[in-house]
């Protein structure tokens, strides 16, 4: 396996969906190619950083306003609904 081929299989490897036979080749290449090993590590860390990053909190006043708007629209759509709070 060459570095270019490894690059093309990167998603499948990182996501764990790579074919087992290819996986062996992939890891054999990384064992002998430090740059590819580091790129794979960097990619994993990049994904982790975004996934575990601080979420954006929705402003509470906006939430209330939006729910009001939605309730109004709901009542137009289901005029008979008595359970509308």
């Amino acid at each position: 396996m060459k570095c270019e081929e490894l690059l093309a299989m990167l998603n499948e490897y990182v996501d764990g969906t790579v074919d087992p036979a290819v996986c062996v080749e992939f890891e054999k290449h990384m064992a002998g190619c430090n740059p590819c090993q580091v790129v794979v590590d960097n990619i994993r860390q990049t994904i982790t950083l975004y996934k575990d990053g601080q979420p954006y909190a929705m402003p509470i006043q906006f939430r209330e306003k939006m729910h009001d708007t939605l309730r109004k629209k709901w009542k137009e759509k289901f005029p008979g609904s008595e359970n509308a709070l």
Binding site: A8, N11, Q45, L49, Y56, M58, M66, G80, S81, N83
Partner: protein
């Protein structure tokens, strides 16, 4: 009678109740997904007012189109799809374009032969666990996202942040799975490159011995 509106109630059941006119069920669905929609919109648009607009438009659209939702996709995928289109619409408007099409032809850059090679290769100075706690890191992450083309950004956010599968991402964006995979690879590589230039340890930078690609 047990209350069907508890956190364990499956989306499908809430959808059924909402279609039957139960406002509480609709509000429960909204509450379940509004933070994710808002977060996605913030990461796409980086502007609170625009992210609020996207969030409200998304749930108004859910309300309008609920009858037409047949459950062929997950409800969450459907909601994220509506939100994605709303966010793209704002981006296109900012650019002065009117089209919202995501199905546009695959660009020449979207094939595997033109995947950019990693340039700056170095171990990071700190682990992601340490980095997420630093405030300036969010800024760094958002700046790197902004430098991505919005089509790549959206694929990355849906797949890697929202946790959709390749298939679900393809369905949400009306793209082929092959196209999603190529865009995801480009996004991941470009983000890696950007972040490593800041977070990588220059003292441990690696140079490829066979660095001869054209």
């Amino acid at each position: 009678m047990t209350n069907p509106l508890n956190p364990e109630t499956p989306d499908g059941e809430l959808v059924r109740l909402a279609k039957a006119g139960e406002l509480d069920a609709f509000e429960a669905l909204t509450s379940r997904y509004e933070q994710r929609v808002f977060g996605l919109a913030m990461r796409m648009l980086r502007q609170e007012q625009d992210a609020e607009d996207v969030t409200q438009q998304t749930f108004l659209s859910v309300l309008e189109n609920l009858e037409g939702f047949r459950g062929e996709a997950n409800f969450s995928t459907w909601v994220l799809r509506i939100a994605s289109h709303a966010a793209l619409k704002i981006i296109r408007k900012r650019k002065g374009l009117n089209t919202v099409s995501l199905e546009e032809a695959t660009e020449p850059s979207d094939d595997l032969n033109s995947i950019p090679h990693p340039e700056f290769i170095a171990d990071w100075r700190q682990s992601p666990e340490h980095l997420v706690e630093r405030n300036e890191v969010r800024r760094l992450l958002d700046d790197a996202l902004t430098r991505l083309d919005e089509k790549h950004r959206l694929v990355f956010l849906l797949r890697d942040v929202e946790g959709l599968s390749i298939q679900e991402t393809a369905a949400a964006l009306e793209l082929s799975e092959g196209n999603v995979k190529v865009r995801l690879l480009r996004a991941r590589l470009q983000l890696r490159e950007d972040l490593t230039r800041v977070l990588g340890d220059p003292a441990r930078q690696l140079v490829r011995s066979h660095h001869h690609h054209e």
